[in-house]
């Protein structure tokens, strides 16, 4: 279906080779995962398939790519529209119209399909992706999961033979992600659509894919079955790390397989030692907080405390009120009723420097905080603002992610590097509380590990609390002491990470699923429990 012959790709004004001499063939009805570090060129590879690279982005391409016999060199991306459906990383930015149904029809109208064909196909695809209930809703009012499904539907309605998706689940909560992936699975199996997908959260997709293309980052690529590639890759999901740590003879890709391999382990081990948190002083106190937007209640009488040195994860569906709670705690939106105190002060009254030293906040889009021309300038401005030694911020950044050139423009950094830069800047004011809104979107496993380490260190060293909203169960398992689970603006669960995560199958991390009923969340938990034994 898709044939890469000796493909090499390099962008002008860049010394890095993205791809070198890639040759492979992808069959009809195959599901292929593209993996690699952040910024290694996964998106470029995906966009080569319909010719967006190099037609749209520039770049020097050698070799040839053909889709169903048509060379992408010879035609523009539009001429492949009936053959390749592509769903970008951020579907919201790709929507052209404002109503679901019109969005679905847009591509067919452009290709001058007759009206009756369009009607039939729209109905089909509405059923296939269960979008019928929202067919005449305005797209901007839909949730993240629904928007993602609309984007997939808009691609599918053209009956493409190839569907290309760039991180389709990165903004979704675990349940919405599962929904999207099961749709893809069905497409591959029922309709023989060829699916090419790039994804960082391998634990979500790995059990569905047939083959993996691994981009090493220096132009090298390797292609093989999931087993082959994961045996030796350095970015692997928790279950593979578990298999490696336990020295299992083979690796399993799904929870079921690994459970079979570890039956005896689960049976012969004593329970996890209890960790008791000493009682600490409350730093953040939230008391019967209520907040409403346009008559819709975002928070209903929420009360909770966060103690010094505690790392608390805020979880829940898209739209459950996580961001609203965080924003009230950092003091950008005032509550309708109830109160928030951070170290005894109402955060909404703080201004300028006082705010910066009271609360450090890393927004959902870290780049919102960056506006200077180079990493060096950003760091120095942070030094000056907070009257600390010149170079201290950069030094901290360098410890977090070594080898950043200080003359790089902040927007040329990879996602992980940019987050590290923003974190260094925020921490340079030495805040008493750190609050983060979905910090790990688009990070690979290594960047995530570094990031969790930095947060843990911060919490321990200064005995300060960290509060983060996230969909990433694996991150929560590694990092958080406590989990607060929100639904419809109410706290439905609040307790130690272990208890909260284990009580719901959808939010349980992979290791916990494998090791159930033993109460272990991470690979380290398992190893330390085995060592005790």
């Amino acid at each position: 279906m898709i044939k890469f012959s000796n493909v090499s790709l390099i962008y002008p004004q860049s010394t890095k080779t993205i791809l070198e001499d890639l040759s492979c063939e992808i069959e009809e009805g195959e599901m292929v995962l593209v993996m690699g570090h952040t910024g290694s060129g996964k998106s470029s590879l995906l966009r080569l398939i319909n010719g967006l690279v190099p037609h749209h982005t520039g770049g020097i391409l050698a070799g040839d790519i053909t889709v169903d016999g048509i060379s992408t060199r010879a035609v523009k991306p539009g001429a492949l529209a009936h053959l390749v459906g592509i769903v970008g990383q951020n579907p919201v930015n790709g929507f052209v119209t404002d109503i679901v149904e019109e969005e679905l029809a847009f591509g067919m109208e452009a290709l001058n399909f007759p009206a009756d064909v369009m009607r039939k196909r729209v109905e089909e695809v509405l059923d296939l992706l269960s979008l019928n209930a929202i067919r005449d809703r305005s797209i901007s009012t839909l949730s993240g999961g629904e928007q993602q499904r609309v984007a997939i539907a808009a691609a599918l309605v053209m009956h493409p033979k190839v569907l290309v998706l760039d991180e389709p689940t990165s903004a979704l909560d675990p349940i919405a992600a599962e929904e999207v992936l099961s749709v893809l699975h069905r497409l591959v199996h029922d309709l023989s659509v060829t699916v090419i997908i790039a994804e960082h959260r391998l634990e979500r997709v790995i059990q569905f894919v047939d083959r993996i293309i691994l981009i090493e980052g220096d132009g090298e690529t390797s292609i093989g079955s999931a087993d082959e590639i994961l045996q030796r890759a350095d970015l692997v999901p928790p279950i593979i790390r578990l298999a490696r740590a336990l020295n299992l003879s083979e690796i399993g890709l799904s929870v079921r397989e690994v459970r079979r391999l570890t039956t005896d382990l689960r049976e012969n081990v004593v329970a996890h030692p209890e960790q008791h948190n000493s009682l600490n002083k409350n730093v953040i106190e939230v008391d019967s907080l209520a907040l409403a937007y346009n008559k819709k209640e975002a928070l209903k009488k929420v009360s909770t405390q966060v103690q010094a040195g505690e790392i608390v994860a805020l979880m829940g569906r898209n739209g459950a009120g996580k961001s609203s709670l965080l924003e009230t705690i950092v003091g950008v939106s005032g509550p309708d009723s109830g109160s928030v105190l951070v170290n005894g002060v109402d955060p909404a009254t703080l201004r300028g420097r006082d705010r910066r030293t009271a609360i450090g906040y890393v927004p959902q889009e870290p780049s919102d905080l960056l506006y200077l021309q180079s990493v060096k300038q950003e760091c120095e401005s942070a030094d000056k603002e907070n009257e600390i030694a010149l170079g201290a911020t950069f030094e901290f950044l360098n410890r977090l992610v070594p080898n950043i050139s200080e003359n790089t423009h902040p927007h040329d950094l990879s996602e992980g590097q940019r987050l590290a830069l923003v974190l260094s800047i925020v921490l340079s004011s030495n805040p008493k509380v750190l609050v983060l809104d979905e910090p790990t979107r688009g990070l690979d496993y290594q960047a995530k590990a570094l990031f969790s380490l930095a947060l843990k260190e911060f919490a321990q060293k200064f005995n300060s609390p960290v509060l983060l909203a996230t969909h990433d169960v694996e991150l929560v398992a590694e990092l958080a002491d406590r989990v607060i689970f929100l639904a419809e603006g109410e706290i439905v669960a609040d307790g130690r990470t272990l208890e909260v995560l284990l009580s719901s199958p959808a939010f349980a991390p992979q290791v916990a699923k494998v090791m159930s009923p033993q109460p272990w969340l991470t690979v380290d938990d398992v190893i330390s429990a085995l060592d005790v034994k």
Binding site: K76, G78, L80, G88, F106, A110, S138, A154, A155, G331
Partner: protein, 247 residues
């Protein structure tokens, strides 16, 4: 769901009524039609994002009436009649005869200014109602192809604007939390421009990979047929407008 009218129907209604209101030149009729427009939007609003534009046309209408009244009181030709109050006259050089700033304010002068303001406001409200109830996407569909191509570009440009406002709010919020209280051109413009640019590129990529502009002819999903109801609305509008013009 409400049975849709042809996208052009409400525009025809607004245009004909506007002609009638202008030629009849009666405050009372203008006010009545403004009321009709408000009622119409209330009844026919279908929850699409364009409905929200109507409240803006109301605001603009009120703004125009106010400004017209103030300007009418301050500047202009004196109209004799019952004097309400008197404000000091500003002396103007002799080469500007016939114009006066300040002076006696009569009830006649005030009401004639208000009257003009209300007629203009009625136009705004009528067309505001038509545009709030007809998505521009739908309107564009019934227009000839060459207008469509230009039009869709305009609609996309227009839809980028609310997104920009949202990004602006978000960026401002984040920066306040970093302790940047001053609104600087550089601190805001750079992140904003970058986001706007990358968004438009993504949109262009999306449109291109979905085949936009590949075929010379473009078909229409769910063509909007001209129904009996549309004819009824159009005929009533023509008769009403004709009656008002003839008066």
């Amino acid at each position: 769901m409400k049975r849709p009218l042809h996208p052009l129907t409400l525009w025809i209604w607004a245009l004909l009524t506007a002609i009638g209101v202008v030629s009849l030149d009666s405050t009372r009729v203008a006010l009545i039609f403004m009321g009709v427009a408000v009622l119409l939007v209330k009844v026919r609003a279908d929850g699409s994002p364009w409905n929200a534009t109507f409240s803006w046309s109301l605001r603009i209408a009120i703004f125009i009436i106010t400004i017209r009244a103030i300007v009418g009181v301050l500047i202009g030709v004196p109209i004799p009649g019952t004097e309400l109050f008197r404000i000091p006259i500003l002396e103007l050089p002799s080469w500007m005869p016939g114009i006066r700033i300040g002076g006696a304010v009569t009830a006649e002068r005030l009401s004639s200014s208000l009257h003009e303001g209300i007629i203009i406001a009625a136009m705004i409200v009528l067309f505001g109602a038509a545009s709030a109830l007809t998505s521009p996407h739908k309107l564009l569909r019934v227009l000839p192809f060459f207008i469509y191509e230009v039009g869709i570009t305009l609609v996309i440009a227009a839809s980028v604007f609310p997104q920009l406002v949202q990004s602006l709010k978000r960026i401002r919020k984040a920066q306040r939390l970093r302790g940047i209280e001053k609104i600087g051109l550089r601190t805001l413009a750079l992140p904003l421009l970058e986001e706007a640019l990358s968004r438009s590129l993504q949109l262009a990529e999306s449109m291109d990979s979905r085949g936009y502009g590949v075929s010379r002819k473009r078909s229409r999903y769910r063509p909007s047929p001209w129904s009996k109801r549309d004819s009824v609305v159009a005929i009533i509008s023509i008769v009403a407008s004709g009656f008002m013009v003839a008066q």
